[in-house]
């Protein structure tokens, strides 16, 4: 029985992570994808020409992709993890445990792959719908796959675009902090409330740190001297201003992650019946 208890606790751990892992994977994918496609040439000016407008639309499509990926990944996680009201979650747990205990981790991996794949499809569809429809007309220069290796990394971006090194370094730090943010969300799979709350606090701190590291001229950030609250409000304000939206999306993204962490924890505990 002792060995069975050890296996049971592994299942418990995996089970509680079912909702979070696809979410985290999808967010990470969306983040990477949007950075691959990131165009820092966007400004707050009115579109000067069709090309400028296309870039704006592409970036706004990116934001929309974020908005859609989140509920989509939640749904995906539930699809595999599954809706306990219908008993699927319990059935999956029991079936795999009875027939092949180690199939459960495979189910977890499948949920991640499925969640990430569906999120990727969603991001791609939205991107195409909002701006990428002209991808073929633009040519290989805009292929996300061609750009992935050279443009994603901020320093590479600096080299390509002649960004000042200081701004490039700041951007690099921001990218690292943003990835840490995602890692903090991943921590939310922790079993205990202490770990989960710690992850929220860490996410908040990372968001604040990324704010502190922001400097004028950084391609993806705008500086607000009034602090995080004002900055996030500023970001929110940008979200309704289609012309300047790209400047605010990091704040939107981070604020969204924090809100999702809180919402996910509440959802998780409500479903477990522990609240």
């Amino acid at each position: 029985m002792v060995r069975a208890l050890v296996r049971l606790n592994l299942i418990r751990l995996l089970h509680s992570s079912m909702l979070w892992v696809p979410l985290g994977a999808s967010m990470a994918l969306a983040f990477l994808w949007s950075n691959v496609l990131h165009v820092d040439a966007l400004n707050t000016h009115a579109p000067a020409n069709g090309w400028d407008l296309l870039l704006m639309l592409q970036n706004n499509g990116k934001i929309l992709a974020f908005a859609l990926v989140v509920p989509f990944s939640l749904w995906t996680g539930d699809l595999v993890a599954v809706d306990r009201e219908r008993g699927y979650r319990a059935q999956l747990c029991l079936r795999t445990a009875h027939q092949a205990p180690w199939a459960y981790p495979l189910a977890l991996v499948a949920s991640v792959v499925l969640g990430a794949a569906l999120a990727a499809v969603m991001v791609a569809l939205v991107w195409l719908a909002m701006g990428g429809l002209m991808l073929g007309a633009i040519g290989p220069h805009w292929s996300p796959f061609a750009r992935a290796g050279s443009v994603y990394w901020p320093l590479g971006q600096a080299v390509l675009r002649g960004t000042p090194p200081a701004a490039a370094a700041s951007s690099l730090v921001w990218h690292i902090l943003a990835l840490l943010t995602i890692a903090c969300v991943g921590l939310a799979i922790g079993q205990s409330m202490r770990v989960r709350f710690a992850s929220i606090i860490a996410t908040t701190l990372v968001a604040l740190a990324s704010l502190a590291m922001a400097t004028p001229g950084t391609p993806t950030l705008q500086w607000s001297p009034l602090g995080a609250g004002v900055w996030l409000l500023h970001a929110a304000q940008h979200t309704v201003n289609i012309a300047s939206l790209p400047a605010g999306w990091p704040g939107y993204f981070l604020a969204g992650l924090i809100a999702l962490s809180v919402a996910g924890i509440i959802l998780h505990h409500q479903r477990e019946g522990s609240w």
Binding site: M1, L5, L8, R84, L94, P101, E272, G273
Partner: protein, 221 residues
């Protein structure tokens, strides 16, 4: 190990960092004996149970548990152990019966996997097998009863119970005393800090304090 002993700890030592929790402890339990480990919170009762179960490694000494010998260098888990540890064995998303089925399905050792009837087992501990509520909605006492039922799933020869009366109301404790008394063919080692309840359930009592274990009542040592 002579057949009469279910558990025999010889000079078992366990440290957590610099803190010496068990200091060359000698402790033995006869087969079919019902034995209690008492002591203050943090005295090492649960640690000793986990060591006996094979869940926690120890630093020195040897332990004979049923047919297995545990040493500080060789990690072994004995067959035939039923275990109740606080908060480790229940999935809150499942019903009580599903939890038992899950555990039964995870037991792969032929010596333990068996023909235990889960529904009667649930009734035995005072739970309704047709209760469709999830365990997350159970009271603490109901969860503890389910934990006790789980411990019987592998048809144990040795039951290790950590604070078995946790969450039980007075009626539940009375039931627990009678339930333990009915386990005549099973060796029971329980850890508790509630000494008033222990005397009704156990024929021998060992006290853990300052890293040492000593017998308090005749019948053990």
């Amino acid at each position: 190990m002579p057949d009469e002993w279910a558990v025999q700890c010889n000079s078992v030592t366990k440290r957590f960092g610099q803190r010496l929790v068990l200091d060359a402890v000698d402790f033995r339990v006869a087969r079919h004996e019902h034995c209690a480990l008492v002591g203050e919170n943090g005295s090492g009762k649960s640690t000793l149970l986990k060591i006996i179960a094979g869940l926690t490694m120890f630093d020195a000494g040897t332990i004979d548990v049923l047919d297995a010998m545990l040493t500080a260098r060789r990690h072994t888990i004995a067959r035939g152990i039923g275990l109740v540890l606080e908060g480790v064995s229940l999935l809150p998303q499942l019903t009580g019966l599903q939890n038992l089925e899950l555990l039964a399905g995870l037991i792969t050792d032929p010596a333990e996997a068996g023909t235990v009837q889960l529904r009667p087992l649930l009734r035995e501990v005072g739970l309704d097998p047709d209760d469709h509520r999830r365990v997350g909605q159970y009271s603490l006492g109901m969860r503890q009863r389910l934990n006790l039922a789980q411990a019987l799933v592998p048809r144990p020869q040795l039951l290790l119970l950590d604070e078995p009366s946790n969450g039980l109301d007075p009626a539940g404790i009375a039931w627990l005393i009678a339930w333990v008394a009915g386990l005549k063919d099973v060796t029971v080692v329980m850890a508790s800090h509630r000494e008033d309840e222990i005397s009704a359930m156990c024929s021998s009592v060992w006290r853990i304090a300052d890293g040492s274990v000593r017998a308090e009542l005749q019948g053990s040592e």
